[in-house]
């Protein structure tokens, strides 16, 4: 699989949504340790909305439209900081792009870079703040460094970097959310938002791997 077509993008994002929904109890457990405990519920709800929206739309003009549609469905339904942030993960990078019917590995990396910058701008978070940016930024950097190797290799690198980012959040003090109030008590616990990012990249890799098998 060298590129992602409109149809495959739709299937991939539905696959990702199913994986997040499947991980709702796991995300709830992680978030309950240091957060409000509602991250899993919020993400699963948003992903369900994205899935329903994608399944309900028969045709898209551009691969970017697929991402934008999923992102908008999340952004417009979830609420809380994670609604805007995770909605932007799909929407911000896809918005305003020249329509394409096939995305290369490089296109996907460029789209995620644009999303990352928008998320950092809106959320005012940087690497080290114990947020989803700790997984997303290294994943985007890994994608940019490996996009020449093809889609699957690139997503493998992104997944690895995202999971390393999740590991890093265990040693960080939180700058946002309820975990912030726990100060050093949040040490040892991973960030739920970063975990969601890692699950998203892992699911994308799994999807592409299955397609190639």
């Amino acid at each position: 699989m060298e590129t992602i077509s409109i149809e495959k993008a739709k299937e991939m994002l539905i696959y990702v949504a199913d994986k997040i929904i499947e991980n709702k109890p796991y995300l709830t457990e992680i978030d309950s340790a240091i957060g409000d405990g509602d991250h899993g519920i919020g993400m699963a709800g948003g992903m369900q909305k994205a899935k329903t929206k994608l399944e309900g739309q028969a045709s898209f003009d551009s691969v970017y439209d697929v991402f934008a549609t999923a992102g908008k469905a999340m952004l417009m339904s979830m609420g809380g900081a994670s609604g805007v942030i995770f909605g932007s993960l799909y929407l911000a990078g896809a918005k305003g792009m020249e329509p394409k019917t096939e995305l290369t590995a490089g296109d996907l990396a460029a789209m995620e870079r644009k999303s990352l910058e928008a998320i950092k701008e809106r959320g005012k978070a940087s690497v080290g703040d114990k947020t989803m940016v700790d997984a997303l930024e290294p994943a985007v950097e890994a994608m940019e460094a490996s996009s020449e190797k093809g889609l699957l290799e690139m997503l493998k690198e992104a997944e690895k970097a995202a999971y390393q980012g999740v590991e890093n959040t265990k040693n960080q003090l939180a700058k946002y959310g309820r975990a912030k109030s726990l100060l050093e008590r949040a040490i040892g616990h991973q960030d739920a938002g970063a975990t969601s990012v890692a699950i998203i990249f892992r699911s994308m890799r799994e999807f592409v791997e299955k397609e190639e098998a």
């Binding site: 405990g37 919020g42 959320g123």
Partner: protein, 334 residues
């Protein structure tokens, strides 16, 4: 296991909205698509005031929809900001051609979602402005005012904003007056026990049996000092002293005061606090223009209280004195 009176944890917000709007159907209707509480009889020809935030802090925010107050409230899930679509649709339903002023507490999630809601309204050609309430002076130092959280001071800011809108002032003027109210007030509180997140069986923070925390946020955000429980007079004096460090009060100045219970603290207790607070204000020669003792800004069954003081000048008094009515808050014309 907490004995919270709910059915299904995932339905608490929608069931609460349904009951709330039905109970006050004389005044309210629910937006047909989103969790927005709309005032039925709205004054025409004015800027629309839309407030909002996470649910679980009732009567804030939906309880401040009323005549001379907010035209609508956009309500999120428990302790989570409403999404941009809820904000957009709620505002759109009450907008009357004169623009929309949003008033909400200064939290990351609210700022993100309300900003996006405004962007969509602007795309529709609707003028918008916002005033973020950042009254909790224990939540960040004075040089980082805009990092402070919004708590019970929301009540006075919504009161003034509602009156300013009612007066027929344009959006820019309404925003100026509302910001003035926001900048003339400070709040500081003390927590004695946590609230429980409905359905999660989980306290919003942990506090020892005999411990209290000054300056703790509504969702358990860290305060400035944790200590053992003290008598009401001492708690009040400590809070007042800390508030004065941030907003000094001179003899002859006039203030409006709100002693706000955080959920499980009783009016009896709030009145005992007020008694001491009034004594301290009187000693300083500060004149009290009006006061309220109530639990307006709560976090479920959280224990404790906050003190809000708003300095008022003739302009703010003019708006404070305009009548307003909603089931949870009302003022006669003065």
């Amino acid at each position: 296991m907490s004995k919270k009176i709910i059915n299904d944890a995932e339905q608490v917000v929608s069931e609460m909205m349904e009951g709330y709007v039905k109970a006050y159907e004389k005044y309210y209707e629910k937006h047909p698509e989103v969790n927005g509480v709309l005032l039925k009889e709205r004054r025409k020809g004015k800027v629309s005031l839309v407030v909002g935030g996470g649910s679980g802090h009732e009567p804030l925010f939906s309880g401040f929809v009323g005549k001379g107050l907010a035209d609508a409230a956009a309500c999120g899930n428990i302790f989570a900001s409403p999404d941009p679509n809820t904000i957009y649709e709620t505002a759109k339903a009450v907008e009357d051609g004169h623009g929309v002023l949003f008033v909400y507490g200064n939290y990351a999630g609210d700022n993100l979602n309300f900003d996006m809601g405004e962007e969509i309204l602007n795309d529709d050609g609707i003028k918008t402005a916002h005033v973020r309430v950042w009254d909790d002076c224990a939540s960040a130092p004075a040089e980082r005012t805009s990092d402070r959280r919004g708590i019970a001071g929301d009540v006075f800011v919504m009161k003034i904003a509602g009156a300013a809108c009612d007066s027929g002032a344009d959006l820019e003027e309404v925003k100026r007056i509302t910001e003035k109210a926001r900048d003339q007030l400070r709040t500081i509180g003390v927590a004695t026990s946590p609230g429980m997140i409905p359905g999660l069986e989980k306290p919003t923070f942990e506090l020892g049996e005999k411990e209290i925390e000054y300056g703790m946020g509504l969702h358990g955000e860290p305060g400035i000092q944790r200590t053992t429980m003290k008598p009401a007079d001492e708690l009040t004096e400590t809070l007042f002293t800390n508030l004065l460090k941030d907003m000094p009060l001179e003899a002859g100045e006039e203030v409006c005061v709100l002693v706000n219970g955080l959920g499980s603290t009783t009016i009896l207790e709030l009145a005992i606090v007020y008694r001491k607070l009034r004594e301290l204000l009187d000693e300083k020669g500060v004149r009290v223009y009006d006061s309220d003792l109530n639990s307006f800004c709560t976090c479920q069954e959280m224990g404790g209280f906050s003190i809000t003081i708003m300095k008022v000048d003739p302009e703010l008094k003019k708006y404070y004195d305009m009548p307003c009515y909603c089931p949870y808050y009302s003022k006669e014309a003065r």
